[in-house]
C-alpha cells in the first residue's frame, strides 16, 4: 500500500515548531552580532599585522576553518567541563556560533579591508589623518559594504548550521522537529515542514540583513 501523507499531526505541534524557529532566530542573532564584531577585530589585526594578535588570529582562523562545526560544539559542551567550564546547551551553542562566525568573518572582512584602493589611504594620509582615524572614518564602512553580501551568506550558513545544536539539547527548530517526529512517527512530513521553515527563515533573514546593510553599512537607503 502506498504511503499516506498526513500533515495534520505536524501542524498540531505548530506551537513547538514556532518556538523552535524563534529559538533558531535568537541563536543566530546572539551568535551573529559578537561573531561579526570578533571578525572585524580579527580583520584589523590581520590586515595591519598587529602582532602578536595577527598571528593568534591566524591560528584561530585556520583551526576553525579546518574542523567541523559539530566537533567544535562538542568540544565546548562536553570538553570544556573538564577544565571547569560548564555551559548550558544554549550558552555552548551561542559560544560555538560566535567562535565559528568570528573566524570566517575575520577572513571576509579582511578581504574587504585589503581591497581598499591605495588612493583612499593616500588621500587620508594627505589630510593628516592618523592610522586609526583612517581606519575608522575612511576604510571601515566601504570595506564592510564591499563584503556585506558575503557576511550575510556566512550568517545564513551559521544559522542553518545551528541545526546541530539540537545534539546538545538546545531546543531550536531541529530539536523541535525531532521531538515531534519521535512522537507522531511522521518523519517525512515533520522534516518536510522543518525544511520549509529553514528555507523561509533563511530567505527572510537574508532580506532583512541586506536591507540593514544598505541602510546602515552603505548608508544610502534606496
Amino acid at each position: 500500500m502506498a504511503y499516506q501523507f498526513d500533515f495534520a499531526p505536524v501542524f498540531e505541534n505548530a506551537d513547538l515548531l514556532l518556538q523552535g524557529a524563534a529559538a533558531t532566530l535568537g541563536l543566530t542573532a546572539a551568535g551573529a552580532v559578537p561573531g561579526i564584531a570578533l571578525g572585524i577585530a580579527g580583520a584589523i589585526c590581520r590586515a595591519w599585522r598587529i602582532q602578536p594578535f595577527a598571528a593568534l588570529f591566524g591560528v584561530y582562523v585556520e583551526a576553525i576553518r579546518n574542523t567541523p562545526f559539530l566537533v567544535q560544539l562538542f568540544f565546548i559542551f562536553f570538553g570544556l567541563p573538564s577544565l571547569g567550564v560548564k555551559l548550558s546547551g544554549w550558552e555552548a551553542s551561542i559560544l560555538a556560533m560566535v567562535i565559528n562566525l568570528g573566524a570566517y568573518s575575520t577572513e571576509i572582512v579582511r578581504a574587504g579591508i585589503e581591497a581598499t584602493p591605495r588612493g583612499q589611504l593616500e588621500a587620508a594620509a594627505s589630510l593628516a589623518l592618523s592610522r586609526a582615524q583612517t581606519f575608522l572614518y575612511v576604510v571601515l564602512r566601504p570595506a564592510l559594504a564591499r563584503v556585506w553580501p558575503a557576511l550575510v551568506s556566512q550568517v545564513i550558513i551559521v544559522m542553518l548550521g545551528s541545526a546541530v545544536c539540537s545534539q546538545i539539547a538546545a531546543e531550536e527548530l531541529t530539536f523541535a522537529a525531532n521531538f515531534i517526529q519521535s512522537r507522531n512517527f511522521r518523519a517525512f512530513e515533520t522534516f518536510f515542514v522543518a525544511t520549509a521553515a529553514y528555507f523561509v527563515l533563511a530567505l527572510l533573514v537574508r532580506q532583512a540583513l541586506m536591507r540593514f546593510g544598505q541602510r546602515v553599512v552603505v548608508g544610502r537607503p534606496r
Partner: protein, 242 residues
C-alpha cells in the same frame, strides 16, 4: 627662508634611481609647473614633499620643518601641505560636504558647526555650493575634482600639491578645474603642480621646471623657456606635447 626647500634630494625604488639630486626652492605665492615625460619622477618628487614617499638622501624642509629626518611630525606637516590627485580619491561613502568636513573635525577637532561653515565656504569657492549633500558618484569628474580641491583647502594649507589633476577628465571638463586653480593662484595660494596642460603652465605658472631622467634639466620663467628652450630635450618635449 623659502616655504619649501629641497636640496640634493635622491630617491630610489629598489635599484631604480628615480630622483638624482633635486634642488628646488619654492617661495610663498609661487605657482610652479612640473613637466616632463612619463616616468621621469614628477609624481615621486611631489609625493616626497608631504611625506607620501620617503627619501634616501638630501634635505627637504617645509615651512621650517624637516620632513624626512625621522623626528618630524608628519601629521603636523601634512596639515600645511594639501594634495590633489589625478584620480580624485574622494571618500565614496561620504557626501561632498562630509568629505570636506572630515579632516577639520577629526584632525583639527574643529566644532561641527564651524567645520560646516568652512565646508560651505570652500565648496562655494570651487563653485559647488549646491552639491553639499551629493555623493561622489552623483557628480561629474570635474565636479569630483573640484570637491577634492575644496577638501584640501578646508585644512587651510600653505601649499597645494596637484598631481596631473586634469589628466583623468574628459576634455570638456578640464577647464572648470583649471579655472579653479587659476583663481587660487590669483589669490596668492602657493601651488606646485605636475601638469601636461602646457598653455596653462605658461599662462598661470611663474616658474616652469622640466624634469628629465630624475634631474631638473631646465627651469625658469615659463614663457621664456617654452619659447626658447635651452636644451634639445625640452625642445623635443614641447614639440611633442604642444
Amino acid at each position: 627662508m623659502s616655504l619649501v626647500n629641497i636640496a640634493g634630494l635622491h630617491k630610489h625604488f629598489g635599484t631604480n634611481h628615480v630622483l638624482k639630486g633635486i634642488d628646488l626652492a619654492v617661495e610663498e605665492g609661487d605657482v610652479i609647473a612640473l613637466i616632463g615625460r612619463s616616468g621621469s619622477g614628477k609624481s615621486t618628487l611631489l609625493r616626497t614633499i608631504n611625506g607620501l614617499e620617503s627619501i634616501d638622501k638630501g634635505e627637504l624642509v617645509v615651512d621650517g620643518t624637516a620632513v624626512h629626518d625621522g623626528k618630524g611630525d608628519l601629521r603636523a606637516l601634512r596639515q600645511k601641505v594639501g594634495m590633489v590627485f589625478q584620480q580624485f580619491n574622494l571618500f565614496p561613502h561620504l557626501t561632498a560636504g562630509q568629505n570636506v568636513m572630515l579632516a577639520p573635525t577629526v584632525v583639527k577637532k574643529t566644532a561641527k558647526r564651524e567645520a560646516e561653515d568652512i565646508a560651505k565656504e570652500v565648496l562655494l569657492k570651487v563653485g559647488l555650493s549646491d552639491k553639499f549633500d551629493s555623493y561622489p558618484d552623483q557628480l561629474s569628474g570635474g565636479q569630483q575634482q573640484r570637491v577634492a580641491i575644496a577638501r584640501a583647502l578646508a585644512m587651510r594649507p600653505k601649499v597645494l600639491l596637484c598631481d596631473e589633476i586634469t589628466s583623468a577628465l574628459d576634455p570638456e571638463l578640464v577647464n572648470e578645474v583649471l579655472a579653479v586653480v587659476q583663481q587660487l593662484a590669483a589669490e596668492g595660494m602657493t601651488l606646485i603642480m605636475v601638469t601636461h596642460e602646457m598653455r596653462f603652465a605658461r599662462d598661470v605658472g611663474n616658474k616652469l621646471i622640466f624634469i628629465h631622467h630624475g634631474r631638473i634639466h631646465e627651469s625658469g620663467d615659463p614663457k621664456t623657456i617654452l619659447t626658447n628652450p635651452e636644451t634639445p630635450e625640452l625642445a623635443n618635449f614641447t614639440r611633442a606635447v604642444m
